[in-house]
């Protein structure tokens, strides 16, 4: 497995676990989140950065040659295809969030709806990369 594929797996696993916990907490707390919302989101972002940096460094130490090598043409193509797919998901999600916003929900719901769209698009991007790496394409 290449370094780039491992990075994509790190992204999928860490985002699923950490944002999954965050969104579960939001649902549990209901519409009156107050300061928890900001603290929870800040903690989530920090946790995500720490986990991804630590895991990426660990993978890079295990295979330093792969980690130092620049992306080759196939890896760039895989990234471009995945980004195109994620952009479609992001655009669709934003449009849906706009309609959701028209229903005049509490602001915390609006914020989290946009965050879900962003996280989903990023998961889509990493997921598409993994599928292409697995196929060898």
């Amino acid at each position: 497995m290449s370094f780039r594929e491992k990075s994509a797996w790190i992204s999928v696993i860490s985002m699923t676990a950490i944002y999954g916990y965050y969104f579960w907490s939001v649902v549990q707390a209901g519409p009156h989140l107050g300061s928890f919302h900001f603290a929870g989101l800040l903690g989530t972002v920090i946790a995500l950065i720490v986990v991804q940096v630590v895991l990426t460094i660990a993978v890079a130490i295990a295979s330093p040659g792969d980690a130092r090598a620049p992306r080759d043409e196939r890896e760039k193509l895989i990234e471009l295809r995945a980004t195109r797919m994620a952009y479609s998901g992001l655009a669709t999600g934003i449009a849906m969030a706009c309609f959701f916003g028209a229903l005049d929900p509490p602001i915390v719901f609006n914020t989290n709806a946009l965050l879900i769209v962003l996280v989903t698009a990023e998961l889509l991007r990493s997921g598409c990369q993994i599928v292409q790496y697995r196929r060898g394409a």
């Binding site: 290449s2 792969d66 090598a69 080759d72 043409e73 196939r74 890896e75 790496y133 196929r135 060898g136 394409a137």
Partner: protein
């Protein structure tokens, strides 16, 4: 739609049993990309195809060929 076939695997073995990693290092691609090219799962750019041919000292058409599907 046609496919691009190649003889990279045979040529590697004819050149001192060169590994995929050794070939990848010479042409600045990853080993996984060389493997994908060998298996016909990825068609390299023209530039990469020329670099691969140059490693084996062969013209492009001796390494790659286009077959109608």
């Amino acid at each position: 739609m046609g496919v691009i076939r190649n003889d990279i695997r045979r040529l590697r073995f004819e050149h001192g049993e060169m590994t995929q990693q050794q070939l990848a290092d010479k042409i600045e691609l990853t080993r996984q990309t060389v493997n994908a090219i060998e298996q016909g799962k990825y068609s390299p750019s023209l530039e990469a195809a020329f670099r691969i041919s140059a490693v084996f000292g062969k013209p492009l058409e001796a390494v790659f060929r286009y077959e109608e599907g």
